[in-house]
């Protein structure tokens, strides 16, 4: 009996240590994110340092009008947009990987980003102007509608009888190619300056940020996060097999439906505001998984933090690559994301 209680104490300790380590890693990620945001705020073509910037925020009277504009219209919205978009895309990717049981699932690889690009391109080439929607809003709105529609198309596919997880992924890839083909066609017929707009839109960039967009995206993330975290235990069980989860009382269809709803809200809003930003939704969850493991109670927040951190770092890099120019951050994430992804694949091998 004594040895038994001792064993229980051992196992309990082991488990608690594991939880503590994961919580500690989450804290570390959070700290790293805060540091990245500060560096992101402090870097930019104008050369304004962090101290000057903080001083300017606390005492607006110390600043010239130009500096005010730099802080409130450039530095802050860009930095915060990078954080929110990274968080949204990575969380969406983590949920997608869980419900589709596929490590290659992400808003980018399953065509949500491409669909958004198509929606935006259509409105850029055939402008819709009404009294109550400005041209830019119409572009974002159309991108959102197309992105959300693509997720629901994926959803409808998953409900077809006999459509397994593999066919869903193949369908997503087909969606990527068809959307890209139509976008290419639009580029072919577009005039010179429309073409430039099209290309710029397909290269995701946080320079499209403004406070309205930030507000909407923050609201979406804030609303989705609690539901996402509440579904975490069921998602963990789903990772151990659909039949197992269902036989333990999880309504798998319902779980998938609401998860896809969250994914479409997160990824469609993010992509609609900043354009195509690839690999964050794929690489973020993978790095998080290496850090905290498969327990979705930790994996989902860790994915959100990792995604935010990655995009924040990419945003810093996008200002440093070419002095004086802000390179679209979508290019940076693709350049950095691909090698990271290849390393992940080789390091984890079949376990991925």
């Amino acid at each position: 009996m004594t040895t038994q209680t001792l064993d229980l104490a051992n196992a309990t300790d082991g488990y608690r240590r594991l939880l503590a380590r994961r919580a500690w890693l989450l804290g570390l990620l959070g700290t790293a994110l805060v540091c990245a945001i500060l560096v992101d705020l402090a870097s930019g073509p104008s050369g304004m340092g962090l101290l000057a910037l903080l001083d300017g925020i606390l005492h607006p009277s110390h600043l010239s009008a130009t500096d005010q504009v730099i802080i409130w219209n450039v530095r802050l919205p860009y930095a915060l947009m990078a954080v929110l978009v990274g968080c949204a895309l990575s969380l969406a990717g983590a949920e997608m990987q869980a419900i589709l049981n596929n490590p290659l699932a992400s808003p980018f690889t399953l065509g949500v980003s491409s669909a958004a690009a198509l929606g935006a391109s259509l409105v850029i080439v055939f402008p819709v102007t009404t009294l109550w929607v400005s041209a830019n809003t119409a572009i974002s709105l159309s991108a959102f509608i197309f992105a959300a529609a693509s997720v629901f198309l994926l959803q409808a596919m998953s409900r077809l009888r006999g459509a397994g997880v593999e066919s869903l992924v193949l369908f997503g890839i087909a969606l990527v190619f068809s959307c890209n083909a139509v976008v290419a066609l639009l580029q072919l017929v577009a005039t010179e300056d429309v073409l430039q707009q099209l290309v710029f839109w397909t290269l995701g960039s946080v320079t499209r940020a403004n406070w309205d967009k930030l507000g909407i995206l923050a609201l979406v993330v804030a609303v989705v996060l609690p539901f996402s975290f509440a579904a975490a235990p069921r998602l963990t069980l789903l990772r151990m097999g659909e039949d197992r989860a269902q036989s333990f009382g999880v309504d798998v269809k319902r779980l998938r439906f609401f998860s896809l709803l969250r994914i479409s809200l997160l990824s469609a809003t993010a992509v609609a505001f900043v354009g195509t930003i690839g690999f964050i939704g794929l690489v973020g969850p993978h790095i998080a998984r290496i850090l905290v493991g498969e327990d979705q109670r930790f994996l989902l927040p860790a994915s959100a933090l990792t995604g935010a951190l990655l995009l924040s770092l990419s945003s810093i890099a996008s200002k440093l690559i070419m002095p004086g120019v802000i390179v679209p951050v979508g290019i940076v994430t693709a350049l950095v994301g691909v090698p990271i992804f290849v390393v992940l694949v080789f390091k984890r091998g079949r376990q991925l």
């Binding site: 082991g14 488990y15 069980l237 039949d243 333990f248 376990q351």
Partner: protein
């Protein structure tokens, strides 16, 4: 009303193809282990999944006075647990976490959800299976046999009345085939459970099962104790092989297969 698990007039179809035809099983009492055997495509796994509530079926599944087939997924899951063929490899979850996850996901009657209680229940389940020493290991570092035992621990932690196991031994080496089946039989005896196990290995079925149900082409071909059911005619008709049934020196039934027809 009779105690135990019974299946009446089960019919399961995939699209237009009917897999299980109007199949009834006699009442399987508490404390008994039943093996479902039969050739590939006989409908063993489909029947098991239907009883677990994973396939739509016509017919009635009763547990004592309760009509399981009329229950919701969550309601049924409190009494009946199902174990798929394997736990996916490569998950970085600790053994303890995976069992706690099985407890947390839906409330199991009589087990409070506080983290202390979950921990105790999970550890208790690991101990009953005899794998408490693996508690801190990651699933990705375990062998197939060890993962199968973890899978059993997940089931038993939920304190089910019925365990449905789909080919629990199919990918295992000899040692773990026996370990897993020993474990299942002990659980059935100790906790007065009803276990239904799909098995491919007839010698394992003869050795561990109290009751064998033989399926052929979606219908029940024979059912009863190993001694009564297993005979050369059955092997000829169901499996299309020539076979002898012998008793070895330790009095266990051994099926010796001489060749295919």
């Amino acid at each position: 009303m009779s105690e135990g698990l019974s299946v009446h007039n089960a019919q399961v179809s995939y699209g237009r193809r009917q897999i299980v035809h109007d199949l009834s099983l006699p009442t399987l009492p508490h404390g008994s282990l039943t093996a479902l055997i039969g050739p590939n495509g006989a409908g063993k796994s489909t029947l098991l999944r239907a009883v677990a509530g994973l396939e739509k079926m016509q017919g009635v599944v009763r547990l004592g006075d309760l009509d399981l087939s009329a229950m919701s997924v969550a309601e049924r899951a409190r009494r009946v647990t199902y174990m798929p063929q394997n736990l996916p490899p490569g998950l970085s979850l600790s053994v303890m976490e995976s069992v706690i996850a099985a407890l947390r996901v839906a409330n199991v009657e009589g087990i409070p959800l506080s983290s202390d209680a979950c921990l105790r229940e999970a550890f208790d389940a690991l101990q009953r299976i005899g794998i408490a020493h693996l508690a801190d290991q990651l699933l990705s570092t375990l062998s197939g046999g060890q993962r199968q035992l973890v899978s059993l621990a997940q089931l038993i932690a939920r304190r089910p009345q019925v365990m449905l196991l789909d080919e629990p031994t199919s990918a295992l080496d000899l040692n773990y085939q026996l370990k897993v089946m020993d474990c299942v039989r002990d659980l059935v005896r100790e906790h007065n459970l009803i276990a239904v196990v799909v098995l491919h290995d007839i010698n394992l079925a003869a050795r561990f099962a109290d009751h064998i149900a033989v399926l052929r082409q979606g219908r029940l071909y024979a059912s009863g104790a190993a001694d009564d059911v297993l005979n050369p005619l059955l092997f000829a008709e169901v499996y299309r092989v020539r076979a002898r049934i012998e008793r070895c020196s330790q009095h266990t039934v051994q099926v010796l297969v001489d060749g295919a027809f």
